[in-house]
Every structure is written in C-alpha cells, then in structure tokens.
C-alpha cells in the first residue's frame, strides 16, 4: 500500500512538471502556431538564474523569483528579436526559427558560462521526508505538487478573470477577430510568451530541485517529454496539455515501478509505445483543441 501511494505521489509530481512545460508550449502554439523548440532553453536560462542568485548568496525563495524572472525576460526577448520579425512566416519557418534560437542560446551557455554542470545549492530541508502516517513523502515531490497546483490555479484565474487572459483565449480561437476589436496582436502575443516563460521558469525550479545542478543541455529532455505530452493531450489545447503532462508522468512512473529489471532500460520505448496506442485511439489527442475556422 505504502509503495503504491509513494508511486502516486511521484507520478503526480513528475506529471506536474511535464504539464507546466506542455502548457507553456500550448499557450504559444494555440495563438501563433509556433512549435517553440527553444522552450527548453528558457528552462536552462532559469536554471542559470538560480545559479547566479546562489553565487551572490541570495536566499532560496529569492533565487526562485530570479529564475522565473530570467525565463520570462528570455521568453520576451526571443519573441521580440526572433519570432516577431518572422510573424508572417509559415509554421515551418517559425519552427526553424525556434531551432535557431535554441541552438544560439545553447552555444551562448556553453561558451559564455560552461559546458559542465554548475551546482545549484538547495536548502538542506529539501532532502527531508514528511511522515503522514502510512505515507512517507519527500519534501521535493510534495513542494513540486503544491507549486504545480498553485501555478495551474493562478493561470486558470488569469485566463478566466482578467481581460488579458480572456483576450488570450479569444486569440487562440480567432486572432483576426480579436484584432478587429482593437486589441493589439503584439501585446497579446507578448503576454503569451511571458506566461510561457514563467511556466518554463517554475518547471525549471522543480526540475533542479531534484538534481541540484544546471548545464547547457538541461532543458532538452524535459521539453522533449513535454512535446510528447502536448501531443497526447491535443496540440494547442490548454487543458489537453495538462492532461497529457499528467498522463505521461503517470505512464513513466508506472513503467518504472512495474517493469521487470531486465526491461527497465527500455522504459521510454514502452512509454512511447503506449503513447502510440493512445494516439491510435484518439488521433487528435485526449482533449483536442477547437479546430480553427480560418488561418
């Protein structure tokens, strides 16, 4: 019983990180049809933000804020400098632009900072375990679940209650008509990038809390997983991204826990095989995005 509950906690905490990342991808994709391959680098930027904050001995909560702020600023800069000039390009052009942004940022990290992992000191309490009767939960998975829940709740409030949030939802459905209302396209897109950056920053903090270091390639694997999650959920659908993220986290933890030892090296193959089954069952994803009526 104990082990099952532990695995559920692990699955939710891992799935939460994938959900945040997939959501960051979906926010951008739903509005400008950009598959942002540079999303992983936003995570890495946030990681270096934590590293620098620790280097000037900022307390941990401030380091978290610096990390998220770095990711938001990086997201806004990539939008302004790379994606806005390419706004009229087709989906392929935008995708290639994001590859370029990703490669440039990685080279900057490698040559400007270091190709080796940099340690990010974590509060000593992070190694601890909370005893909840039958359940022994690590601080990190618990914090990660709480952070994910808070982030999802704030984003939901933002999208449903504020004018800018409603404008983002409207933009995902019909951007042209939103412009007819006099709402500036550039502003809505910039806000979408800021939200996407903030989600990447929070995910980066949770990711680093598990490994304690940052390196130039840190964002690659989790964001690759987030793409898979976004596709499982239905590309461009926000609730789909969250569902896909949790589904992928649960699958990974399940296979990790229940595959025989000999098969463990092939865990990702099993996970992706299962993803293929899901997509055969629902080709548009678990919660498909509404079909855009016009481009």
């Amino acid at each position: 019983m104990d082990i099952v509950l532990q695995q559920i906690v692990n699955a939710i905490s891992l799935g939460g990180i994938y959900a945040l990342l997939a959501l960051g991808l979906a926010v951008i994709f739903s509005i400008i049809s950009l598959i942002n391959f540079a999303h992983g680098e936003l995570m890495t930027v946030a990681g270096y933000g934590m590293f620098f904050a620790a280097a000037v001995s900022l307390p941990f909560p401030f380091a978290v804020c610096v990390a998220v702020l770095f990711a938001v600023i990086a997201a806004l800069l990539t939008e302004r400098l790379a994606f806005r000039p390419m706004r009229k390009a087709d989906a392929t052009g935008l995708l290639l632009t994001s590859f370029a942004v990703s490669a440039i940022l990685r080279v900057i990290f490698q040559n400007g900072i270091s190709a080796r992992p940099k340690p990010v000191p974590l509060p000593s309490g992070f190694a601890g375990v909370i005893d909840l009767g039958v359940l022994h939960v690590g601080i990190v998975p618990l914090l990660s679940i709480v952070m994910t829940a808070l982030s999802l709740a704030s984003l939901t409030l933002f999208l449903n209650r504020t004018t800018l949030g409603k404008a983002m939802r409207a933009a995902a459905e019909d951007f042209q008509v939103l412009r007819l209302m006099g709402i500036k396209a550039n502003r809505v897109i910039a806000v979408a990038f800021a939200v996407s950056g903030a989600l990447a920053g929070i995910a980066a903090v949770l990711w680093i809390a598990q490994r304690g270091s940052v390196d130039p390639l840190m964002g690659f694997v989790p964001v690759l997983k987030a793409f898979v999650a976004a596709v499982i959920g239905g590309l461009g659908s926000l609730s789909g991204a969250v569902a896909g993220g949790f589904a992928l986290g649960i699958l990974e933890v399940l296979f990790q826990a229940f595959l025989p030892d000999a098969a463990l090296p092939f865990r990702d193959a099993f996970v992706l095989g299962f993803v293929i089954l899901i997509l055969i069952w629902r080709p548009d994803g678990l919660i498909p995005a509404p079909v855009a009526r016009r481009s």
């Binding site: 004018t163 409603k166 404008a167 939802r169 409207a170 459905e173 019909d174 042209q176 008509v177 939103l178 412009r179 007819l180 209302m181 006099g182 709402i183 500036k184 396209a185 509404p290 009526r293």
Partner: protein, 233 residues
Amino acid sequence: MLEVSDLKVKYGEVAAVKGVSLSVPQGSIVVLLGANGAGKSSTLNAIAGLVVSTGSIRFEGAPLSGRPAEDIVKRGIALTPEGRRVFPSLSVADNLHLGGAAHAYGAELKGRVEAELDRFPILRERYHQKAGLLSGGEQQMLAIARSLMAGPRLLLLDEPSLGLAPLIVDKVFDLILDLKSRGLTILLVEQNAERALEIADHGYVLQTGQVVLEGTGAELVRSDLVKQAYLAE
C-alpha cells in the same frame, strides 16, 4: 464619410479586388451586391485593415491605407465579419467585454454592455452561456453587439443574414434600420439583394472584383442586371 478609390486586393497571384471605388456618405446605408467571389468581403476586409490593399481609403478625410486593424477600429470603423465568428468557448459576457475592452473601461465599459443588453434582450438571458451554444441568429446579434461595443461611427456588416431563418432575417434588417436612425453609417454586404435594396440609400454591384453598376436602391431594383442576377423574378 468613407471614400474608397481604386482599391486593389491580391491574394498571392489572384486578384480579388481590381480597382473598386465607392463612397459612403454620413448617415446612409450603402450596400455591396455581387456573387460569391466578386470581391465584396475582400473590400470590407481591406477597409477594416485585415488584408493588405493598394489604392486609397479615406475615412473622415484621413487616409487609412496600410494601417493595422487595431488602429482602424479605434478611428471609428467596426467590422462584423462574415460567419459571425463569435469566440465560441467564451461566454456572451466575455465576448461583449472584449469588444469594448480596447475602447472603454470601468463604468464606461459596463454602461456600454448594458446598452447592448437593452438593445438585444436575448443576450441578457444568455449572458453567462458560452457563445458557441447560441443559435445562429443569437450569434449574429452577439457579433453585431460586440462590434458596437467599440462605439463605431461606421459599421461594416458582412452577410449578416446568411443562413438565418426568415423571421430572424427580418429582425436583422429592422436592426440595421434602427442603427441608421440612431446616426450610425452602415456599409452592408448582402446576398439577400431584395431585402438589402429595400433599406439601402445607395448600392454597388460587384463582378469579379470590379464595380459594374451603381445607383440608389430604387434604381438598382429596377435595373435589368440586378433583376436577372440577384432577384428571383
């Protein structure tokens, strides 16, 4: 109020509008007639700034060409696009708020919403429902109300009666007359030539991107071209 001359719109190699000139006097209803693909919607979209065009568009004396859609609505021209295009997953309330959000806020924005709900009581009943769940006629009312939230002086209406039941079509045309009586100027694109010409002060007939005929509503109703092509006689 609106002067368009030698307007041209191209989609890639295809010319949709090939030199259209028209004028919309203050306080009038002007109608654009024509078959599918004649360039009516492209003309409206060019005026509203949604598509790139060449030629001259002047509104209240000021040139509009090349300005983005966001600017043009701020200057007092609102377009209710073909097919209504309400935001389906947003509530009626949110659709209306977004219509006015760039033009008013606080009490002023609330006042505008109230004014539209008074004008369209059905929207008050549906206020918290998702716009995608409304009937076609209700969606059309919402789309027009959403455009009016911007407080325009010129309203561009693209096929407002398309796909609606006859009773609802009557309502739409009554509404257009009502808006005119309140001082709004209207440029209307319609397939329903008979009804449109009844309320129009002036009309233009477009064929393959060019104006082939113009005149007062009464003149057009009597013309052979309109009779043959657009009126069921």
